[in-house]
């Protein structure tokens, strides 16, 4: 009983400490992150897994230029695609750059897509598919060089090979990233 009470108090103190850190402002110049990301192909009704990575340069405390890549690994369904890698680039916005920093972003991009060969032995061609994508999520900067990165991407595009094959996907990730801060920032809000 006593042990439980002590554990509760410790948990409360840690939570309070953590929440106090949430609001502390933060200076970051560059950050990057890579992890595994489960996703769901909304058009094909198929679960997929990709390796995702991103690199982000902070133009100001609130805005950043971000480039993302996704390497398609495997499918839990009918394996519509043999290859479905993605590259995206665009801007992200956040209310302010604090330890806990939620963001939204708009990133046009392309997918390198190859459908799985079905009836024919000839491999379908690799095609470049334009996609529109939006992201949202948060970063939690808990050390001077480490942060937690979590987010969701929704993307839409269509590959054409004997009909339309949407690459439309919702993808989520959670992982560890690193950041650096230079002494002088070029731009500020």
């Amino acid at each position: 009983m006593e042990g439980k009470r002590i554990a509760l108090i410790v948990l409360l103190l840690v939570s309070l400490q953590a929440s106090a850190q949430f609001g502390q402002s933060r200076q970051v110049t560059f950050r990057a992150h890579a992890t595994l990301a489960p996703g769901f192909l909304l058009g094909e009704g198929e679960g997929v897994v990709s390796v995702v990575g991103d690199a982000e340069y902070f133009l100001s405390n609130r805005t950043s230029w971000r480039a993302d890549g996704a390497y398609y690994l495997l499918s839990f369904g009918d394996e519509t695609f043999n290859m479905n890698h993605g590259l995206y680039s665009g801007l992200c916005f956040r209310p302010s750059l604090r330890n806990f920093a939620p963001y939204v972003g708009f990133q046009p991009g392309v997918h390198l897509t190859q459908l799985k060969a079905r009836e024919s032995l000839v491999a379908p061609p690799v095609s470049v598919v334009p996609v529109v994508s939006g992201i949202t999520g948060f970063h939690f900067f808990f050390l001077s060089f480490l942060h937690i990165s979590a987010g969701v991407r929704v993307l839409h595009g269509t590959a054409y090979y004997f009909g339309s094959h949407p690459v439309t996907e919702m993808r989520a990730w959670l992982g560890l990233g690193w950041q650096i801060t230079t002494a002088r920032r070029k731009f500020d809000d």
Partner: protein
């Protein structure tokens, strides 16, 4: 007829706003970079549904009223089950901001008219052998309207609606028994489509300073 109406409407509004033309010289020379998605509604060459594209552009302000946009796009669309149509655009537009107070201040919206030109390469790709079965170069004047939605001083979202009128050799593609049948027409063809573009833009720097 439709094009003539839109053009005369745009021209009339622009001329009336020219009568009270003022500009802020400090806004000239600003270079921006942007990434964009384009939805294209085709009415020709066999595309059976709107195409989606990706691209980018630079913008350079000549003064606070006049901006220019230099863009490149890659757009794909289906030709039934038989193939696809790849479109490459490279071109430029001149944008004119008719409402001075939106130019001068940071406002929620900044509408503009735009008129421009682009070169267009269409490739018709057959699915059965992934072969380019036809291609066509054409030139295309564009006219449209748009709006910037500023997020911060340096950043904006922009939406633009343009009508693109192709002038070049006719090229029709149809799906026949799972293959693409091509019909090329001699002489010039006038055909158009509507482009809806959304972009995110960042003002990089001011390229030249004012004298004095």
């Amino acid at each position: 007829m439709r094009v003539a109406l839109i053009t005369s409407l745009l021209l009339g509004t622009s001329l009336s706003s020219f009568a009270q033309f003022r500009f802020d010289p400090h806004l000239r020379g600003i270079l921006s970079v942007g990434l964009r998605n384009t939805v294209s509604t085709f009415h020709n060459a066999g595309a059976t549904q709107p195409g989606l594209g990706v691209g980018g552009h630079f913008r350079l302000n000549f003064n606070s009223r006049v901006n220019t946009e230099w863009h490149a796009d890659y757009i794909t669309a289906a030709i039934n089950h038989a193939g696809k149509r790849n479109v490459y655009h490279i071109g430029w537009s001149v944008m004119y901001y008719p409402i001075y107070k939106t130019v001068q201040k940071f406002t929620a919206a900044k509408p503009y008219f735009m008129i421009g030109h682009c070169f267009d390469l269409v490739q018709v790709v057959q699915s059965s052998d992934n072969r380019v079965v036809a291609k066509r170069w054409s030139a295309a004047p564009t006219v449209g309207i748009g709006n910037h939605f500023p997020i911060k001083d340096r950043i904006d979202f922009s939406f633009a609606l343009q009508y693109m009128l192709h002038v070049g050799k006719g090229l029709e593609a149809r799906a026949v028994n799972g293959s693409v049948a091509i019909e090329e027409r001699n002489g010039f063809l006038w055909d158009g489509h509507v482009l809806l573009t959304m972009s995110v833009n960042y003002k990089l720097k001011k390229l030249w300073k004012e004298k004095g």
